[in-house]
Symmetry: D2
Subunit: 144 residues, 4 copies
């Protein structure tokens, strides 16, 4: 399965009055990491949408365990990987370190969905195309 | 245990290019709901900090299951409650409905921490004071 | 010209380590207020886009003067109004009070744009339709 | 006066349902650039606060002119510089390019403030110390 890594420098505006990261931001960084991983597999989200491969990759589940607070100026090394692929779901795992310390671990599940104008949600689940599965199942690459 | 509820109207800026809520925002709304619940128990966060009862209430875990996408203009009815209280941890459950449809469920765990200048993190876990436990254990109130 | 007003309760997560509102959030509240004003004029953004009246209402200018810091729990009363309408631009003015104190004033200019697939930006400016101008020029209403 | 530059890659979650950057994010990037510039002058915000040089650097004014919409995957080259320094105010200018195209220009004014527990705001304006002025007035450096 593919893997990726990126560095996140904690900004002043990412933190709350206790001086530590306002936790929803960690999920935004998970999202950034997931799209970066897809892009490196040749599956940039804007291309996926433009080519009508899918119409969104909404989350069905997201979670994180937080082991240490992070503050402005901290640099997190966030590694992300595709964990498992089901017929219509992709499971992704994230782990962030600050130096040698694991500060958080996260998991997310995304659904492959296509446009369904007849439905109230406008979307319906669909099988992940075989070529997409193949790209996401490729040997790990850890650029940067 | 105490309970609370609030209405969240989804804003244009809460949504991503797929036209649905960018999921980290749901966690920000959980945070809002948790503080509102604490405030209604007489435990407004700014007061807790000013009175040195605690120095932060950082999350040790957060998760959500998403059942339906939400779009600008949708109004979510978010109900939140203290689920269980451990000696140093508070578990909170959230559920959001749009009309009759449950669109997501969430859970979070928060640690009671006080200042610990001698530690790298500046914080250390502490037992939740009995009067705080009593307030959070009060009979449910669901104003609004 | 139409006017509107809404109350914004400052959340913990809206504030930075200095304990005051992280200023980009004020602009997000301006955006919320503008869409609320449009909606009350019968011009909800999702309807405008769905009916292909326009394809976006991007800002060409935004500014704010900040007179006093705001903190978690503060309630801002934000009044907004259409100031002037040019052939392709709408100027909007915002003012926020906390009790009797004006805490900030803002201004924004939005361009009426339609899809232009032939352009790199995908968008081009267009004249604001007369019925839209009429709705935005209506006598002030200040619900809520 | 000092200058700095950084690259901002537009993320999926930075954009709205029109597929373009939700404009308050530009102001968050201005904030990031300002702190980076201060840090490179030896004035990292956390150090300034910890050493009680100031207690916040709140904005008194912020504005931006937007010339072109930006989309996920765009990389903005943001250059920032201290423009002028008054006794209690610092004026900063920002400019973002995407390739050769200037996509936005911004300006912000920040006030030097120290703790004033006797005041409702908790803060009062103060003269910027001479050594701080000297550091911010140094010859331009444009690392990265």
């Amino acid at each position: 399965m593919i893997e990726t890594a990126c560095d996140i420098e904690i900004q002043w505006g990412d933190c709350d009055p206790a001086g530590i990261v306002f936790f929803p931001n960690y999920f935004a960084w998970f999202d950034r990491a997931t799209w970066q991983m897809f892009a490196r597999a040749g599956l940039a989200i804007d291309g996926l949408l433009r080519d009508k491969r899918c119409d969104a990759l909404p989350l069905t589940h997201a979670e994180a365990d937080f082991f240490a607070p992070c503050r402005p100026g901290d640099v997190l090394h966030l590694t992300s990987r595709v964990d498992t692929i089901e017929s219509r779901r992709i499971h992704i795992a994230h782990e962030a370190r600050r130096g040698d310390v694991v500060v958080l671990k996260g998991r997310e599940t995304r659904a492959w969905v296509v446009a369904a104008p007849e439905r109230p949600s406008g979307l319906r689940g669909a099988d992940i195309p075989a070529d997409i599965v193949a790209r996401l199942s490729a040997a790990p690459t850890r650029p940067r």
